[in-house]
Subunit: 189 residues, 2 copies
Amino acid sequence: MDRRQEIMEAAAKSFSLFGYKATTMDQVAKIANVGKGTIYTFFSNKEELFNAIVLKMIEEMRAVSESAMVEGASFEQNAHTLLIQMLKFRKTHLLYAKLIDEEKELRTPAVIEVLAEIEGEIVSYIKAKIERAIAKGELKQCDSELVAYLLFKAYMALVVDWGKTHNGELSEERIAGLLGGTIFTSLLA
Amino acid sequence: MDRRQEIMEAAAKSFSLFGYKATTMDQVAKIANVGKGTIYTFFSNKEELFNAIVLKMIEEMRAVSESAMVEGASFEQNAHTLLIQMLKFRKTHLLYAKLIDEEKELRTPAVIEVLAEIEGEIVSYIKAKIERAIAKGELKQCDSELVAYLLFKAYMALVVDWGKTHNGELSEERIAGLLGGTIFTSLLA
DNA sequence: TAGTTGACCGAAAGTGTATTTTGGTCATAA
DNA sequence: TTATGACCAAAATACACTTTCGGTCAACTA
């Protein structure tokens, strides 16, 4: 069997279940049925193993949202489903949810770093979509990085933050309505 | 002399200098030149004293941004200066800055609560401005609460958060340009 | 007698120290 | 060569002890 693969799976399981800090290398070794030293022949340390797992999750995320996109649809529709998908993933995916929890509760530096990296990845993914839409002539020229950032933050605010201070989450339609009427329309060519 | 006033001033000074947690009631009493018991004849506990100080700061904030508004100017111009003013205050005001720091470093519950309250206050202030602009016919009908929330979060993201991940802060003009071209224009009647 | 005070109290936070856990190594084994 | 787990230093934890702090109230003033 592929030992590297088994280690990755064991680590993913443990990180998802217990978080980064509470996952010990001994535990990963035990779950993977390998000696602890074996892990270090594939990954130079705990953090690198962690990064490898997270990288895999990012790919998974990209695949999920890519599959949710519709070929002929407008930029607005696709960007909306893309972002909603991402934030749904954020809440649903066991590892992602666990990491968010750990960031809030434990403030583990490695976790904080990784989450920032994931968000950066999402933003640059949106940025690419914007640039493609501009190239296609669907959107007017704009600072794609800045707009991607703003879009991401807007969705985060409405989907994630709103519920913390107001009771009842915002419906997907209400969000689509608000942003469709404000940010999106103004981006059109 | 007004003992209540003296206590308030002493407390404001101490909270600004050392934060909520590191401020002791003994210290406030000493600075105010009163016995500790005297404080409790005006404020039922430390948290209420704190709330009183913060309430005063909120009024101060409101006054500052009110004075920065121009009577004849457009909603966009006034909302922009209002929000920029608020976020400048947030950084400049000794107490506010100290509380933000304490929230990040110590996570003091009383401080977290109070900061959330302040943000809520800012949002409802913007909300009122929006409603007035709608009544005046300057803006089209919209969910004022939601738009106020979105505006606040957008400014926070661009003014406060952007600098944490990208190097170099965004200039006021660039922010005005981005939001003027996106959110603001679409709100017009 | 209305207002002020600081000694006092229990609870909570802090401190120093013994003990355990954990990331990572490497001599040995397969 | 590759895999392993006993081993190590460093970090985390647990625990007992001390100090600090928010809040009270009997005594004290004016």
